[in-house]
Amino acid sequence: MSAEINLTLKVWRQAGPNAEGRFVTYEAGGISTDASFLEMLDIVNERLIEAGEEPIVFESDCREGICGTCGLMINGQAHGPQKGTATCQLHMRSFSDGDHIVIEPWRATSFPVLRDLAVDRRAMDAIIGAGGYISVNTGAAPDANLTPVPKETADTAFDAAACIGCGACVAACPNSAAQLFTAAKVQHLNLLPQGQAQRWARTEAMVETMEAFFGSCTNHGECEEACPKEIPIDFIAWTNRDYIKAKVKNRKLVG
């Protein structure tokens, strides 16, 4: 059943990284409840362009919850009120006629606003660059099942690998800590045989890169609630343990 609702949007507008930002209120009338949140913003933008105004800058790519490009703080909640979905998977049927919606970009010192709702998330790329990979010799494809992986291990690693790197965990965290992102990216490799060779070097490098850009985890658990992939904070605990082990093991390496 499709219906149309009228909304009042309070959107963060900021002309550039160093410009002063402010909220601007827009009336968004006649929005189909079948529209996704991003499609609703598209409609608003088309109307702004027709009226000769600057459209609202926001990021999006796949629009099916797998790329991690979109991400908005909607009414003070990362990715909006629906649990376990990205902003693109949030539909306007989650809202009621006459609702006021506050839309803000992710906020953290290491996520500077580029323009309006788009932020620079390259600090997360720096964490991946520090060790979020495995090094293998390429060549002929190895035999299937050459490296046995227990089903439970594969499932757990995949739970961590579901991370799309959207940054909602940082946005939702009262400390702007990137612990859940980093832990997911560390653990999906640390749990598997292919990740063992670089396990301790990876853990130390990625955690310390994270600490250079983001705050310190105080175990609120907000990240787990905000995560569109519902990645549990258990991975954070395991990374904390791996990190101390890494500090012990890595010191013995002379090379």
């Binding site: 953290a108 010192t109 009262p174 600490e211 609630e225 904390n240």
Partner: protein
């Protein structure tokens, strides 16, 4: 239309490398996760003390002589190996070090988080964060200030004109019979219980003690410990106010020491 997004240079780190790189294992404390480990371990030590301290104080309900004997027993600990009060002092020094590290790690991690965080002018909607987790930076200093008052009041006797060294029953009943002091103890111990509720659970995460099969028990343990500490510690000011703990201003221990006590019971 001027649509081009201006690319800023890579965001500068919010936390700089330590100026002096300490040798291992002290270098672990120079990292945030290492500080969280120290916070968790020192928290566990302090929590152990708080539980034992509360249970020990229950001797107040046995009577003035019994709590006096308990206090003397603590001073006599390890006297077969060490001079009297040495073991007690070793434990006290351990607690002082744990307390100092707990405060320092909390202070420096808070500074790091405050530097990394930006406010949401439109407001933030908390889902998982509870009252306890969000007030750690308030309950902590409250406990610190209270601890100073508590030591000055019942260990050093600064604020109590009738203070008798070595008579806890007398000192507690003199001190807590004043309503403002009782309120202070109630407020501070409630803050302590709230701090313990988040701290106990948080400790397991920080120390990486996590096994999905048993994880739900961590919340029960946190709630149980906070509850036991709350009930035990609040009972003292409440029962002094109610007149259950009351020595009518006479110090049995002082009378014993001066040989003026008559009979065993009164």
């Amino acid at each position: 239309m001027a649509q081009a997004i201006t690319r800023v240079s890579a965001p500068p780190p919010v936390r700089s490398e330590p100026k002096i790189k300490l040798p291992w294992p002290l270098s672990i404390y120079q990292t945030a996760v290492g500080k969280k480990w120290v916070m968790g371990l020192t928290g566990a030590a302090l929590l152990g003390f708080i539980v034992v301290h509360m249970i020990g104080n229950l001797h107040l309900y046995e009577g003035p002589l019994e709590i006096h004997e308990y206090a003397e027993t603590l001073r006599d600990l390890g006297t077969k190996l060490l001079p009297r009060t040495w073991l007690l002092w070793i434990m006290r020094i351990g607690l002082i070090i744990a307390f100092a590290l707990h405060i320092h790690s909390a202070y420096s991690l808070s500074r790091m988080s405050i530097a990394a965080d930006q406010r949401y002018p439109g407001g933030r909607n908390y889902i998982a964060a509870n009252f306890a987790s969000r007030t750690m930076r308030w309950t902590g200093p409250i406990i610190g200030l209270y601890l100073f008052y508590h030591l000055a009041d019942l260990t050093w006797g600064w604020f109590n004109p009738d203070f008798v060294r070595g008579d806890p029953y007398h000192n507690v009943s003199e001190s807590l019979s004043s309503i403002p002091v009782a309120i202070l103890y109630i407020v501070a111990n409630t803050a302590l219980a709230v701090h313990i509720f988040h701290g106990t659970w948080s400790m397991f995460q920080s120390l990486g003690v996590n096994s999905p099969r048993y994880n739900h028990l961590r919340r029960y343990l946190a709630a149980g410990l906070a509850g036991i500490i709350l009930v035990g510690n609040l009972s003292f000011p409440i029962f002094v106010q109610a007149g259950v703990i009351d020595d009518n201003g006479r110090s049995i221990v002082e009378e014993l020491q001066h040989g003026t006590a008559e009979g065993e019971d009164h």
